[in-house]
């Protein structure tokens, strides 16, 4: 095990209109791991990601990212610090072309590697290369998901927050997206994955946390959780 986790979340509380949606959640993400948060609708998974990237305010708790206090940064600074959030619904800008969506994601970068990274994204997703001049809102759901992941790569993120990447996609595309996620991880990206598709998520992840109504009820290596009777019954349907 490495010494210092890349991300440490400690006693995180998040409320909507004074109703606590996330109640004292703590977890850690080691550099190089895929960590998944699993839970039913409304368990607070997406809420946690949104709070980490700065889209939602946090009521209480601390978050350390690469040794710095994440919660003191505004959202755009967190992206610059190395966190890329692929939000639920993907958040593609329909009035920007595929290429523009990718370039915008490198907004804060001033280095010379941007063009090389663009080529890398197009190599990873040849479909996007074919459609680079098309408007974002002409893409299919799968292509939008690829573009959303591509944007995360353009920001040179150290940590990818992926919110339901499988949602609304045909099974074949889901497989493809998960293949890419695994490939990115092999190439060095650390990934925090939120999924309703627990089977796939547990297959791909190193560590998993099970959330119920805003609390972590189970945690451990995914292999162990895959065989846990409670998980098998509630999330894997066996």
């Amino acid at each position: 095990m490495t010494s210092q986790p890349l991300l440490t979340v400690d006693d995180l509380w998040i409320s909507y209109d004074r109703i606590a949606a996330v109640r004292g959640v703590s977890f850690a993400v080691q550099e190089g791991d895929i960590v998944t948060l699993i839970g039913a609708n409304g368990a607070g998974k997406s809420t946690i990601l949104r709070a980490l990237s700065g889209l939602l305010p946090v009521s209480q708790g601390t978050v350390l990212f690469a040794g710095q206090d994440l919660l003191s940064l505004p959202a755009h600074r967190r992206t610059q610090a190395g966190i890329a959030h692929v939000p639920e619904g993907r958040g593609i800008f329909g009035n920007l072309t595929v290429l523009e969506n990718l370039r915008l994601a490198a907004y804060a970068r001033r280095d010379a590697q941007i063009e090389a990274d663009l080529e890398e994204v197009f190599r990873l997703f040849p479909r996007l290369a074919e459609r680079r001049r098309q408007w974002g809102n002409t893409l299919s759901g799968g292509e939008q998901q690829m573009l959303a992941v591509g944007r995360a790569l353009m920001s040179r993120a150290r940590l990818l927050l992926l919110d339901e990447p499988s949602m609304g996609l045909a099974p074949m595309l889901v497989r493809e997206i998960f293949r890419v996620i695994r490939r990115l991880n092999k190439a060095g990206a650390t990934i925090l994955l939120v999924e309703q598709n627990a089977r796939l998520a547990l297959e791909i992840a190193h560590q998993a946390y099970i959330l119920e109504t805003g609390r972590i009820v189970l945690a451990g290596p995914s292999r162990t959780l895959q065989d846990h009777p409670q998980v098998r019954e509630a999330y894997l349907g066996v």
Binding site: A75, T79, P87, G91, F93, L96, A105, Y107, R109, S155
Partner: protein, 303 residues
């Protein structure tokens, strides 16, 4: 007959250029914040006065400054300070209301407009100010049309500014950020874009362009008064709506259309007093039959 028509087309292009420059400010702010900045006409007025101040100062220098230098100096001075004014207004008056209902921001904008009018009135008094001529007036004769250097300057400079703005919005990273904000603002910070700064820059650019319009207007119609921004602001606002509010190219088109309405109404109808009636009727008809304007709002989404 053909000559009268041609002459009026030139006049309409000249006036339409100014309307288009001001309409752009309404369109940009609406595009990025879905808010109608009713103070924009008064920002144009302040821009006109700032150009006047710079021109008078430069003309009064002990050495005789060449007129092109005075013109460029007045243009840059007023564009810069008016941009600053636009940014300040946004920072102090609109940003605190970012999460408030939209009607609050609109009422605030009306208040800012009243403030600018009355501040100018208090500082300078109600008497109109005369704008000095900076551009030679001797006309050229081309195909029986009289064309003044000033007309050419207004039409070309306005066109140049519009082309530059169009390039800014379509080709630069800043333009992409502006379009992204108009499409889905909450997501934009996830791209590492500082949204507040982009909004500030939008106000800066829109106000600077209005200041250029103020200088050109002052040269063409050389009487300034603190309330000049009201009527011209309304006309430019109609222009922006006619083109499709929030749509940059629509605002340009709408500006020229309103220029033609203003110039051709007295030609076709008995008196020039009909021009506001015609302009607002046009607006009403358009809102009934094509509520999203000529180029439409869907285009604005792709500015």
């Amino acid at each position: 007959m053909l000559q009268v028509l041609g002459q009026n087309v030139l006049n309409a292009l000249q006036l339409g250029s100014v309307y288009a420059l001001i309409a752009l400010g309404y369109a940009m702010v609406y595009g990025i914040l879905t808010m109608i900045n009713f103070a924009h006409g008064d920002i144009f007025m302040v821009g006109a006065y700032l150009s006047l101040a710079a021109a008078v100062f430069l003309l009064g220098l002990p050495f005789k400054a060449p007129l092109p230098f005075v013109f460029v100096g007045a243009l840059l001075f007023s564009m810069f300070l008016t941009a600053l004014l636009g940014v300040t207004v946004e920072r102090l008056a609109y940003r605190p209301l970012r999460q408030a209902p939209r009607v609050s921001a609109v009422i605030t904008a009306l208040g800012v407009g009243l403030f600018l009018e009355n501040f100018t009135l208090a500082m300078l008094g109600p008497q109109p100010r005369h704008f000095p001529g900076l551009i030679p007036m001797q006309p050229w004769n081309i195909f029986g049309l009289t064309l003044t250097p000033l007309q050419v300057l207004i039409i070309l400079l306005a066109a140049l500014l519009m082309v530059l703005l169009d390039l800014l919005i379509r080709r630069t990273l800043l333009g992409m950020a502006m379009r992204a904000i108009s499409y889905n603002r909450p997501i934009v910070p996830l791209m590492g874009v500082p949204v507040d700064r982009v909004i500030s820059l939008t106000f800066a650019v829109g106000s600077a362009i209005a200041a250029a319009g103020g200088l050109l207007y002052g040269l063409a119609y050389p009487v300034l008064d603190p309330y000049m921004g009201i009527r011209i602001g309304w006309w430019a606002f109609i222009a922006a709506v006619v083109g499709g509010i929030g749509n940059i190219r629509g605002a340009m088109l709408g500006g020229y259309i309103l220029g033609f309405v203003e110039i051709f109404t007295p030609v076709l109808l008995p008196a020039s007093t009909y021009r506001d009636f015609v302009a607002f009727s046009l607006l009403l008809l358009l809102l009934v039959f094509k509520p999203t304007g000529l180029l439409g709002r869907p285009m604005f989404e792709r500015v």
